[in-house]
Symmetry: D2
Subunit: 440 residues, 4 copies
């Protein structure tokens, strides 16, 4: 039974198997079940996010709050409200038995009257977190700084035309990076929601990209200085809130990391909803990050492909995630990364139990997908045909070409001399799609 009044009579959510008809149980998430030699919990490294469930009031661009959470009541002392919120949050982590959480500085602690006070507020609340974590199982997957909500950041944080805003952002990031380190966080995330533009008419992209390059470089340096071992993760998103964000997608972030020589320290945190807003499938973004060596972690949610904004719904498509997890398992799995549910219940989902339903759905979807992906991988259902398809490149000439031992003229001459007329082979897409459906 819950110990925090907000959750009323709700009990911890337990695994009860696929046949369970209890909507507040797990049907697939069986944390101790061993999959490919590892516990499911250790594979998935599931995390709940603080902001959507505890800070968002249910408002949207056309309507005000719907949730009326007790800690959002007008007139409360902000630090007292922050502690009430923390109680509810950690209670939800307990009820869900989720091993990780994530937060922004401003989710946790209110902005103070001065920058110094803001920093102190954060320190105070992270001490509350630390105390709670001692008595709980939950650990920190990552922390991050909110450099997008306050009006000072309306024209960017690192990319602001005013260097003082850049400095302000330095202070915020330093505080959260150190808090993350103190709390034993596994990663540190940067999402540049305002690092972009509304109009090119007032924007110098070259300057702004250079500023952002400098900023991330300084964060990397500081991470090493304080001994934080986790990677810095950039979370790509193409647009929203701005018209264009510099961290558009995985490929764009890769170019940025190359340009500013950051590949050794920075990886990506990929979100499904951001992927589709950029015109890519989730699998594409994950597979590309793996191919480029910058895969870090996932923001696990789903967008609506028919809507043009970030709906951040809980994942519920097992088929989509099965192939994603297949690629991740095949690429070595999540290491420091995890699956952060950057997802929110709909604004009409008013009941505390709805918070549990949302997470349960997401968690079970991940668990089921993991199980299927593992079998698919063990069967070499996809990897087998794939290796076979490219096998000719593993021949002598193929290897010589890729090793740079051939030039254009020589290959062209050979093509003409041998009167090459290569015949295409079926791509077998429908066969492969059916094959995947056999596992789903």
């Amino acid at each position: 039974m819950s110990t925090v009044p907000f959750f009323g009579e709700l009990s911890p959510v337990a695994y009860r198997g696929p046949e369970s008809r209890d909507p507040l149980s797990y049907r697939w998430y069986d944390k101790d079940r061993v999959v490919l030699g590892k516990r499911m919990e250790d594979h998935l490294r599931l995390a709940a996010c603080y902001w959507h469930s505890f800070c968002w009031p249910g408002a949207d661009p056309f309507g005000g709050e719907t949730f009326l959470r007790p800690w959002m009541k007008a007139g409360l002392d902000p630090m007292a409200a922050a502690r009430m919120k923390a109680d509810a949050a950690f209670e939800m982590f307990r009820l869900l038995d989720i091993p990780f959480f994530c937060f922004h500085d401003l989710d946790a602690a209110p902005e103070g009257a001065t920058l110094a006070e803001s920093v102190n507020n954060l320190k105070a609340i992270t001490e509350v977190f630390a105390a709670k974590m001692e008595n709980a199982k939950v650990r920190l997957l990552w922390g991050t700084a909110n450099l997008f909500s306050h009006r000072r950041y309306m024209a960017g944080a690192a990319t602001n035309p005013d260097p003082e805003v850049f400095l302000y952002a330095c202070a915020q990031v330093r505080a959260v990076l150190e808090a993350t380190h103190a709390l034993g966080g596994a990663n540190y995330v940067m999402w540049g929601g305002r690092e972009g533009y509304e109009t090119l008419l007032n924007t110098d992209m070259k300057r702004e990209m250079d500023q952002m390059g400098r900023f991330v470089s300084m964060v990397v340096e500081h991470k090493h200085k304080i001994g934080f071992k986790g990677p810095i993760l950039i979370e790509p998103k193409p647009r929203e809130p701005t018209k264009h964000q510099y961290d558009f997608d995985v490929a764009t972030v890769y170019g940025f990391l190359e340009r500013y020589d950051l590949l050794a320290d920075v990886k990506v945190n990929i979100e499904q909803n951001h992927a589709i807003l950029a015109g890519h499938s989730f699998q594409h973004e994950v597979a590309l990050a793996l191919a480029l060596g910058i895969f870090g972690s996932l923001d696990m949610n789903r967008g609506d492909p028919l809507l043009g904004w970030d709906t951040d719904q809980f994942a519920n498509d097992v088929g989509e995630l099965t192939v994603v997890f297949h690629d991740i398992l095949n690429g070595g799995g999540l290491t420091t990364g995890g699956l952060n549910f950057d997802a929110k219940i709909r604004r009409q989902s008013l009941d505390p139990a709805d918070l549990l339903h949302g997470h349960i759905g997401g968690i079970d979807t991940c668990a089921r997908a993991l199980l299927q992906a593992a079998v698919m991988l063990e069967d070499a259902a996809l990897t087998g045909p794939l290796a076979e398809r490219y096998a000719a490149w593993d021949g002598e000439e193929g290897r010589a070409i890729m090793a740079g031992e051939r030039d254009l003229a020589r290959l062209a001459d050979r093509a003409v001399a041998d009167n090459l007329n290569p015949q295409p082979r079926s791509g077998r897409q429908e066969y492969l799609e059916n094959l995947v459906n056999r596992y789903v």
Copy 2:
């Protein structure tokens, strides 16, 4: 009067001024008019493309040919047809008084029964081109190889799982690159219409990107070997014909060039329609390429932002192009690049005169936009406020930060110590939009 029967009674298109009501005259394109110290013709470097006007029969995915061009009649000898087509094409170049053209190998010359025969066909027709060019003004902006229409390329050219297809592509590119060189071409373009995938289920992206990296590197090496001075240009397009193309957009190509160490030799050829298919404005792609130092040339057309495919219509939005040309002029102008009308008349535009109307509209739109952009630049209408907006970064501390002389802790400490509370300034977007409209 036209000397080629296809164009019937049509006469050369001449500049007649903005008040002209002759639909077959230029109202803005006054080639000898000097703008910012250079002739308009030398600024714009306009090019007609061979494929859309002379090779496309008017078909679409739901309907067959509509144009019934004489050189497409069934039963003609392919080389004779190619010569008829060349006659019509060069006649159009003459009627339009356009200084450049562009072509694919397969636009110009038919595929032969063998690769050797294909190469010979191309050689024969480029000799026809060379002869025509001696007596004409038109020069070659760029050549390119069609590595996407034939079924052998259905699963990619450089990225094909079969190395023999890679070799075949080498032979084609070598032939066109050398033909381009022989014809005095200013650039060589690569568009990877099949370098992508239909499904990730049968695709090894890492292998394929490496193959593409190798391929482009070989082309660059060969260019140097034969003494071709123009740049290699990659033309980004996010998708279509495939589900995903590796040259998705300017940012993605930049990352590719960094990864395979090609920045010194390869630039981008940016197309408006491809820009919007990738979710970017045309101005964005141009400004980004300029900022990254990889701006090469433009495929000048327009897409329909409400349609999800490449409509390749003739540009007709002066406002859109004015800001694009402003940025290009401000960035040093087109050097080897030009404005290639990669645009086609609608399939219902059956008359030979429609070919002229399409080009006239596009050319006048460019000319008018150039004139406006030049005045805007001379007035420093946008550059003035822009410099002012970022001026604080040119101060001592700003320069020190950007020079890497500050670290995170120091800046954070200063922000707290100084109790910074930077106040945002208006971005003045509406003011700037109105300002631009004053020039349009």
Copy 3:
């Protein structure tokens, strides 16, 4: 000089001609200029909207207020704040010399502790409006009820599963309809921002559409009962805030009006941004409404075709509006309708002057487009070729077919007997596009 401190030193905006370089003047809007026999002001019937300029704090889904308007300060008495806001609003109307405005009940007056108090608040503020209107030029284009912001409406107003919400909405609409009538409003608008669904899993579309049909019917009956002469206008929007709204687009609203027998009393208020969100051009929606006989009024703004949400920017594309106004003039012009700037300055446009810049840009764009459309219409530039294109349908057989005097078999027999082989004619799209550009 402004009499309201908020606008500081700003002076009324006057017409100064196309060469004016004063950013706070009109370059095209010359209200008394006669166009096609009518004053420009009477053609355009421009309106400012209350909500975006005076109620929106500059917040977006990822950030809080930026504008810090005096009347939004925490701790103010809500009715006093409402009066301050009205002062600023009417001062802007005066500075812009705009002849109309529009408002929602909740824009004008705060929600009270009870429904009765809310109704009284609205009454009190509309008396303030009435008093101001006596001494001002501005009139009311339309009023409307906000049935979407409060949490009671989260699952719809008319379409709510709870009939009490339906009743609540009746009370609100009755109050605003009567206030609109009292203030001499020319129309009454209904926008169903919550009349749709988030998920079909909990939605009975048939019930909900029937509820909405009943609701609109009751509003129409009440309008007649109180003697309100203006039309009821439905404003289509496909989605946002919900996943799907029942008033998706003009065609959908037309079907709804047919189904519930409302064609005699209800027309549409078409917004550019909503048009493109629905996948249509603005011109399409206007032309369709004209063709179907349900054209009412316009919400004049612009969306960004590359963004998937309602950006509600000020119109600035003269070319787009020229063809729209051409069709409207050709269809008889705006009668009770007008051009309501349902547009907001960007959240970075912090200065009071930015409110003027936004409106000036929109107004001048409309004025310029009107002038061009009028000339195009006088020249029969488009209407001439159009009539000619369909002329064959005005022949005897064409008229007989359309009059229902032919049946399929007879026409089919004739086609075979006459061995018909109709030859297509050029659609001349590029020619027509160039023609329009001659006027732009």
Copy 4:
């Protein structure tokens, strides 16, 4: 074993159960299994389409044929080729044991030198069909006329500016409607691929919609005249090949049917890919058609939500179809309608077996979804909560409102008098989504 050389060694596809690892077996489609009192085959009424599998050569806008089907070889006598094609098609129907097929006139028989010859060609091939059908199980779900591929239709068939084209279309439709009747077809379909526009500049929408209204009315009259009992089905599609098609979506077609008084005879054939191109989910279009009473049949396929064109892939998302079939079963099931696989294998799927893989995947997806939908419906998993959600409307006041026995003032007065303050209830979206996933 196949009797037609094209399919080589392939054997009929049989049901082998969910554990089958034979890719050429059915895992879920067990035609005689009784579901909700009806055989699965009778529920699903599956149909193969002629065009994609047998007429499309594998070409796309950037590439030529890939399939090289024997009956497409250059130089064949067209009628002989048509018979070869019919052999292959009916052999595929047999191998798949599919109970229905669909065709366009031009799929079946080649266009002749004259209209009369075309009509005769169709007659000859439908006699071939009739003969084959005598010895086979397969029946005709629907026939349709191709009024979009030939250049005469480039500007529309019914909506063409040339009445002779309208007549030509009459002849074609009469022939196919009568052929459909003769072959015992269950429905007749109209898809208006060219009934739309490329540009409004040359389009009179009112005229064109009236022409289309007249055309469909004539088809309906003829259907009655010849005693054809099946419904006429219009297939909505928003765009492609044109910029805008008049049959945009279900709601638009509904308005059209109302306007031209066609509701009694015409229903809709809904395609998944067209639904998403119009910005709707498949379930939305189906549920809306059911609510409006115009649900007819389905074109079963899937589009790629990230691509802007009609990919017409085979359905493979069981979750999506489960809710669609739930709604259909709940609405009375398919009556004359069926599930036509308007789907094509990818152009890289070269092998005859790929045709089977595509259909098997689609068929099994439908079968599995049907099974799940039936259980969900038996459990009242969704219908129960839905009825409960709207229950208040079934009360006395709710019924009185919907019966038109209340007016606005009375309800408004009651709301104020009772001081209504309705409290929202959770929409339970996540709970319901998880519930559905329990069945999937």
